[in-house]
């Protein structure tokens, strides 16, 4: 990468200046929870497959199927290179002293080839992301069904440079709309709805809270999309920064029924670009509108797509969507500073 000093003036508008990171669900982003279990060294390697079979019969790993029964010993040069998981602590019988006799009292599992048992901590849940898998594996080996897209997204590499250039352009439209709102004395928030298939902008809107306390940029855009489909219930004519673009008006012609079924339905399949993280009302409005994906610049204090709630991945709701943040972060951040508060750092970036 080019060193900072060599960058041209105005390089903040390069797509290199921002990275889109996914906003994952709680399950995908939480720490690795551990539970206690008993393990024992395998003294005689030849007994391994029999031990696995017999232990699976006596102590099946119910609820922790992701756990591998056997692990290679961490320290090198130990006399016994393998260790086996005997059972979860919660499945073990009550005992005063931990011993093979108390753990495996019956004949179901012959003790041949097993060493003195000990307590280990193992991951309680199946890892969902590579970072979770790497943390979990430090404790005990687990299986992992990797979602490659999530792994790449977490590295900030999901979008190719041409894709980023397109995203950059859409978010610039949102930033321009935000500035129009600011010039009108309203909150500097802008949003753009895009059809990713045709790569066309469907609606551009900005905060209009002076007209209506609920006309946040996202709510404005949702109504503009409705207007593009012949619906809608407000007029934003007094705001040149709020526009909708009708899809090719082929609707007038006598279309076969097959075509009509592919008519747009609310925001299904559309992407939203918004300069800052939506509030609870706007986030849920996007669920109701069946938005495809949401891209935002910066987080907000009461944000509902990552900060206070993760409405996009909320269990029980009937529609979920992907969310990415950090798109044009600097430009979106700069919108929130009143002209009197622009720092020198910010001015240098211009």
């Amino acid at each position: 990468m080019e060193p900072q000093s060599k960058r041209r003036k105005g390089s903040v508008y390069d797509t290199d200046s921002w990275i889109a990171y996914p906003v994952l669900s709680d399950e995908q982003s939480q720490d690795v929870e551990l539970i206690e279990a008993f393990a024992a060294p395998i003294l005689n390697k030849k007994e391994t497959s029999r031990l696995v079979r017999e232990l699976n019969g006596r102590y099946p790993l119910n609820g922790v199927q992701h756990i591998k029964r056997v692990r290679a010993c961490k320290e090198k040069g130990t006399p016994h290179p393998l260790e086996i998981l005997v059972c979860l602590k919660s499945d073990a019988p009550d005992m005063k002293v931990v011993s093979l006799d108390s753990l495996l009292p019956s004949d179901e599992v012959r003790h041949d080839g097993l060493g003195q048992p000990f307590v280990v901590k193992i991951p309680a849940r199946s890892p969902l992301t590579r970072p979770q898998f790497e943390l979990a594996s430090k404790h005990w080996p687990t299986s992992f069904h990797e979602d490659k897209q999530v792994t790449v997204a977490l590295r900030g590499e999901l979008f190719s440079p041409p894709q980023k250039a397109t995203m950059h352009m859409y978010m610039m439209s949102a930033v321009t709309a935000a500035k129009a709102a600011k010039d009108e004395g309203m909150e500097a928030v802008g949003a753009v709805v895009v059809n990713p298939v045709t790569e066309k902008i469907v609606a551009v809107g900005h905060d209009c809270r002076r007209d209506h306390p609920l006309h946040h940029a996202v709510m404005v855009c949702i109504d503009l999309v409705a207007q593009s489909q012949g619906g809608g219930c407000y007029t934003f004519d007094s705001h040149p920064g709020c526009q909708f673009i009708s899809p090719r008006s082929s609707t007038d012609q006598n279309e076969p029924d097959a075509m009509k079924s592919s008519q747009p339905y609310i925001c299904t399949g559309y992407d939203l670009y918004v300069t800052r993280e939506p509030c609870v009302m706007c986030a849920m409005a996007l669920v109701h509108s069946r938005i495809g994906r949401v891209f935002y610049g910066i987080t907000s204090a009461d944000g509902a797509l990552g900060t206070k709630f993760k409405v996009h991945s909320q269990k029980d709701l009937n529609h979920h969507f992907e969310v990415y943040k950090g798109i044009l972060g600097k430009q979106c951040e700069a919108l929130n500073m009143s002209s009197g508060h622009i720092t020198t750092e910010c001015l240098e970036e211009r």
Binding site: H212, P213, L214, M219, I222, D223, A226, Q229, G230, G231, G232, C233, S261, Y265, I266, C267, T268, C279, V280, M281, A283, M284, A285, V287, H288, S289, R290, S300, A301, D302, A304, K308, F309, V311, Q314, D316, L317, N318
Partner: protein, 186 residues
């Protein structure tokens, strides 16, 4: 933004409809829901009452507007605002003295909208297990969201079973405007 005036705050906190008022206004809300069901619309009745006067009355307008946010509550809020403008009254101070009566728990979006307008009390019939914003899916009504208006009090359970029955009847019919569902995760 969003800080309350101390003087009005005290009255807002104590502002709560009497049992008699609940009976009366919820009766009207249920009548509206029944009418909606009979005309094949989402059976939700909703009204906003200020000073013993209905200042907003709404029904779900999602299908005709193609705007999925046109829930009965938001339609009623728009009417309340129009009423304020006609009566030359300040929306903010009217909202602080307005109760919302609705047959079903407001959804997450509507609950947030009610907070943003500082509505102090919401009386509702049954829970909304699919979208409820007053505790069923999320508790937006009492969550700590300092930038999202003020919390509101909920009075729930009035004629709940009746409200559920109406919803069940409605959802048995299909929404002809929705796209064909892809495999639903549930």
């Amino acid at each position: 933004m969003g800080t309350e005036e101390e003087s009005k705050d005290a009255s807002a906190a104590s502002f709560c409809p009497s049992d008699e008022e609940i009976q009366k206004w919820m009766g009207t809300a249920f009548d509206m829901a029944k009418d909606a069901l009979e005309s094949g619309e989402v059976p939700v009745g909703c009204l906003m009452v200020y000073n013993d006067e209905v200042v907003g009355k709404g029904r779900n307008e999602v299908n005709e507007t193609k705007n999925a946010t046109r829930h009965a509550e938001l339609v009623s809020l728009d009417q309340l605002m129009d009423w304020c403008h006609r009566s030359n009254l300040d929306v903010r101070s009217v909202c602080k003295q307005t109760a919302l009566y609705v047959t079903v728990e407001p959804c997450i979006m509507c609950a947030a909208a009610l907070r943003l307008l500082n509505i102090p009390v919401v009386v509702y019939g049954c829970r909304n297990e699919r979208f409820g914003g007053c505790g069923s899916v999320l508790d937006v009504s009492s969550a700590n969201l300092p930038q999202t208006g003020t919390t509101f009090k909920c009075v729930s359970g009035h004629r709940a079973e009746e409200a559920v029955e109406m919803l069940k009847t409605f959802y048995k019919q299909e929404n002809p405007n929705a796209p064909k569902p892809k495999t639903r995760k549930e």
